[in-house]
Symmetry: C2
Subunit: 355 residues, 2 copies
């Protein structure tokens, strides 16, 4: 991997040991699985609950794992912005501070999404030039990963925000997914340019006039079929879509399980097919790409699913390391400014038609 | 079934014999499968292409099927509103006319959705008091059907439109799905009242103050889990969601098929499990409930999927007959007016807070 930021030492990632349904055991296990001479993990949380989980870690791994004490936890019940302001000793706030202080190259948590979003905006703070930080999720497309944003940070968006999402998503696809010329699509209804609601019709025009490799509208039916590498949408539609994907997958797998116990014949079939079905489930699994990314803040912030296993945590650490080494966060303001400059030129040229 | 409209004779349904990927053969076959002394079908299209498809129909069925000549077809390439205005002899316009002229109790087509929508609005025309006719689709919930609207008629909505969708959806659930007290939910992000975008936050307030049996927000993850019988959303989100459901289901079944041919063991398992998987596929099948309904126009208008088989057409005819016999279309303006009156009273009471 190139060292865009001129990284000399190992990547250092802060990891919230207290966040998620299976904290601290699975979180710490994920750290132990991935820590190495190239990637140090800073476990943030109460030392007395982290230490026991590290007992069995091999000594050669143990020295790549540090503990940064935090005495409280922000729970799912806390109002996010209030909690971030009033719990400075919480694992989420301390983890975010490690990033702003330059101690860590990124911060990862499977805790409250709302609190992570608030910590991103209030502690890490937005990048100069970025109007709307957005949540990016990597979807399991039929032919590979698809960067999808905004998955829920901005319920109300203006057309220019969707262009910004495209710029940030493209930077992510290049640096983290390794796609040289990412194709950017717009989640919309219908294939024609004129289709959509007020937001998408206007966003389509802006995207078509941008420097992005814009490939047009992507309908819901095509979302998982890799017609684009990056798909942008507003945070309301994105969040509905993401949860609908999860719910539909769960519902179908439940139906299949029920069908596979409906007769002796089906039971045997289900038994024989089980490994193949597990592969299918894994291919749909959000854990594969390890969490969602808060793009547009001055540091790498990764939010994992509350139900993250050690595998999810390990994958999140690996992807975050890649993002850090490739300089995703330093690339974003450059790309956003360039896109802004280009769109200003374009709107000058066409006499303000793109407005 | 009650005969709300005081139907004495059989239900008469007009069916576009020229619309859909498998027209006319599968369309006519669907008609032959369902036509009876209680349900007459009027096949609309060119007699010379319909007649051959009726050759093998039993004589006792044949007399419940009539042909209404139409000399042209509106294709998917035609601009819908233009085509409806300029092709008065097309099967879609003639079918819609049969409804407005009182010759048919409903019109069903698997042709261009856009043209059906245009024919609904321009020929059948909207019900007095209904601001926004909407497309309702019946989703295959885990525990039974869920009425979901708007699935695409109105890309831009105001909060009061979502209440109207709730009223129309509840009327549909009562008359066609036989649910006495339909629970109405709002597709949204998050469970709390305060969550959502500008549209859903305002719509939530209006719905909570309405006479509907409103059960609150439904997240994308829960959409197929029957937490509500009727789920309302704007036509943009609804269309994205519907297509995403279809695309996700297709993607998962493809992944399973691929997995089931990955080894000899998996192949045998797939073979044994095949009947059970077919049951699963059928349970997800949009053909089960036969098409989408354009609610809010002065007649029963049902739009089937372009790929409708004879089974889909037969189901659409059966559901449409039920809707006609239960007086769905005559019930709608009554319910819409009552809801409007109730919401006016409510907003008077709270001093215009609900506005």
């Amino acid at each position: 991997m190139d060292s865009v930021e001129g990284h000399k030492g190992p990547v250092r990632l802060a990891l919230d040991a207290e966040g998620g349904d299976y904290a601290p055991a699975e979180i710490v296990a994920g750290a132990v699985e991935t820590a190495s001479a190239h990637m140090h993990v800073l476990l943030v949380g109460r030392p007395e609950i982290i230490e026991p989980c590290l007992q069995e870690a091999p000594a050669e791994i143990r020295r790549y794992v540090d503990i940064v004490p935090a005495t409280s936890v922000i729970s799912f019940h806390d109002e996010p912005a209030w909690a971030v302001r009033n719990k400075p000793d919480s694992s989420i706030v301390i983890g975010a501070r490690l990033v702003t202080d330059g101690v860590a190259d990124g911060f990862i948590s499977a805790g409250s999404t709302g609190a992570m979003l608030a910590a991103g905006l209030l502690v890490v703070k937005r990048i100069r030039g970025v109007k709307r930080p957005a949540i990016l999720v990597v979807l399991p497309g039929m032919e590979g990963p698809i960067a999808f944003l905004d998955a829920g940070a901005n319920a109300n968006c203006r057309p220019e925000h969707l262009v910004e999402f495209g710029v940030m998503g493209a930077a992510f696809a290049r640096t983290v997914l390794g796609i040289a010329q990412p194709r950017v699509g717009l989640l919309n209804i219908g294939e024609e340019n004129s289709k959509g609601n007020e937001l998408t019709v206007a966003a389509h025009r802006l995207l078509a006039g941008s420097t992005l490799n814009f490939v047009g509208n992507i309908e819901g039916r095509e979302l998982l079929y890799n017609h684009a590498d990056v798909v942008v949408t507003d945070g309301f539609t994105g969040n509905v879509a993401l949860k609908l994907l999860e719910g539909t997958a769960q519902s179908i797998l439940q139906r299949i399980r029920a069908a596979a116990s409906s007769s002796a014949r089906a039971k045997l079939g289900g038994l024989l097919l089980r490994p193949a079905l597990q592969t299918t489930r894994a291919s749909l699994d959000s854990e594969e790409y390890g969490g969602t990314y808060l793009l547009g803040v001055r540091g790498l912030v990764v939010i994992c699913h509350g139900s993250s296993s050690r595998r999810a945590v390990a994958n999140a650490l690996r992807f975050a390391a890649r993002a850090a080494e490739q300089g995703l966060v330093t690339q974003l303001p450059v790309d956003v400014e360039a896109a802004l400059a280009a769109s200003t030129r374009a709107s000058d040229t066409v006499g303000g038609e793109v407005s």
